[in-house]
């Protein structure tokens, strides 16, 4: 089968609010696909409709050739779902949670014992398999949750913000193992607001804004679409209030923004932008502490298509991290 996921005009409305607005996309079998977007863009609603947790208002979707609404149980049997909240039974051990979920998916006892051992070893949790989940850290619980979603050998794995609010070690382990399972043939559908994560992992991404897909393609292809612009980052030895207005006056310069102690200049031509910066430095007797040219990143693509600026994205991520931290334990 060429496409593991096919989505046609999928729409979800809550009263007057349209959470997902007639989106269309395909995920190829074996692909690592990422759905990116700011909070409230419709990522989670999309994943909930695909996994049978929410009924679409109109449009449809199929997974592995089966209709998500009409054939929901058959679809659920062949997919694995990891929602943003780690929803496992804290009273039970990691082992008992896995045994319960395996039984619920109809996995034979001998197979689920063998598979649970294999997964808990891969996720570095086997020595603590008999501890109640209540004694686990958030990162460990998330690892158990992903192991649980993989126990019945799903063909498509849905991950909703899998590393949100986790420590670096857990995040790295999760990313590397999910990549490994993808290499073994599992199609992965990831939603994340960590743009770097999507850039590292995904073969293809779609960016959603206000319930609509605004751009879709491989990370490299999307980045290359911005190659007609150059980015120069420069830091001076002292505050320069006129720098932004001076540079903006140049028709070659698209945007100037301050990021921490640096300025970021987006221009159509790198050479002209640097000449303009040097001219400003000379006339104002400034000293350049650092100057770098940058290739556009996936974050730049994200910013361009979501209409957010870098500060808003940074704030959004900080808010989400502190929220996740509050739920820890």
């Amino acid at each position: 089968m060429e496409n593991a996921v096919e989505v046609d005009n999928l729409t979800k409305r809550y009263g007057d609010v349209t959470a997902v607005d007639a989106i269309n996309f395909r995920v190829k079998t074996g692909e690592f696909f990422g759905l990116l977007g700011p909070n409230g863009a419709g990522k989670t609603t999309t994943i909930r409709m695909l996994t049978g947790l929410t009924r679409p208002t109109s449009g449809g979707a199929s997974i592995l050739g089966r209709d998500c609404v009409r054939d929901t149980l058959a679809v659920k049997q062949r997919i694995g779902v990891v929602s943003e909240a780690t929803n496992l039974y804290n009273e039970m051990s990691a082992w008992d949670n896995l045994m319960f979920i395996g039984e619920l998916y109809g996995v034979d006892r001998s197979d689920r014992v063998e598979r649970a051992k294999q997964l808990l070893e891969a996720f570095q949790l086997y020595p603590r398999r008999n501890d109640p989940l209540a004694h686990y850290s958030k990162g460990m619980k998330r690892r158990v949750r992903i192991a649980a979603a993989l126990l019945h050998r799903p063909e498509v794995l849905f991950l909703d913000e899998p590393t949100s609010g986790l420590d670096v070690q857990s995040s790295r382990l999760i990313r590397s193992l999910v990549r490994e399972f993808n290499r073994e043939g599992v199609t992965v559908f990831l939603t994340t607001h960590y743009i770097e994560e999507a850039d590292q992992l995904c073969d293809r991404v779609a960016i959603v804004r206000d319930g609509k897909i605004v751009v879709e393609g491989s990370p490299e292809k999307l980045k290359s679409s911005l190659r007609d612009e150059a980015i120069v980052e420069v830091a001076f030895d002292r505050d320069t209030p006129d720098f932004e207005s001076h540079l903006r006056a140049d028709p070659c310069v698209k945007e100037v923004s301050r990021q921490g102690d640096k300025y970021q200049v987006r221009a159509m031509d790198c050479g002209i932008a640097i000449q303009e910066i040097v001219r400003f430095v000379t006339s104002n007797r400034l000293q350049i502490l650092s100057i770098n040219t940058k290739q556009p990143s996936l974050e730049d693509v994200f910013l361009k298509h979501t209409g957010l600026d870098a500060v808003q994205v940074e704030r959004m991520e900080l808010l989400r991290t502190s929220k996740a931290g509050g739920q820890r334990g």
Partner: protein, 257 residues
Amino acid sequence: MVNVGDILSGRLARAVLDFFTKGACIAKKDAKVYYFKPQIFGFGILIPAFVYLAFSLGREIPPGLLVPGLVSMVSLFGASSVEAISIAMEKQTGTYELLQTAPVSTAGIVFGKSLAGSAFGIVLSLCTALGAVLLSQSQMASPIMFVIGIVLGSFAFSALGILVAAAARDMPTANISLTALRLPMIFIGGVFIPVGTLAPGLRLIAYLTPLTYVVDALREAMAGPSVALAVDLTVLAAWFVILEALAVVVLNRRTQL
């Protein structure tokens, strides 16, 4: 939705087997996770014990009335408490979503949960019945029918607990709503006062509650098999089916946003 093709290809048999197997799996998990919660002890055991003692101490109650009343009440509180707490907690902690993403229908989830709740109610009621019969030296004309009455009653009460918890926003609301429903049921359901002696309006309400049929079925079973007993057991089975179906509808509405 079942179609003729499914029946012919044997899919229906597999679907039925799958329904019961997954139901049993959910029931086992619920027993492990929820049977020993302190709320179960409080709402399922302590409250009925105190209510019964408050109304029976110092009064001469014949064994033919005492045993069915006490056992019905234990069944009501035991069976309904487990699943009220389980559904409310699963919704609150997000584990209900884990069940929803698995290949099991809402009807399968509700059935599994009613198995766990009713098993708790049945065991508790049987222990209470054994103790009460031995202490009061009562005669039991039809013990098998008595047990069937407990089983059907516990299933109906468990489904009632699921329905109330499905409709409630959180656990405190579920517990309060269920207690507000169970206490009046005790007073009009024939536990302390025979239904026949109630005012006509109250009698009508009494016949609209499952507890009335459990109390009556257990009394009839103690006296011996009768037509009234068969009617009681049939009504209880119908109560179970209706409450389960309602619980499925309400859960789907509340959780499939």
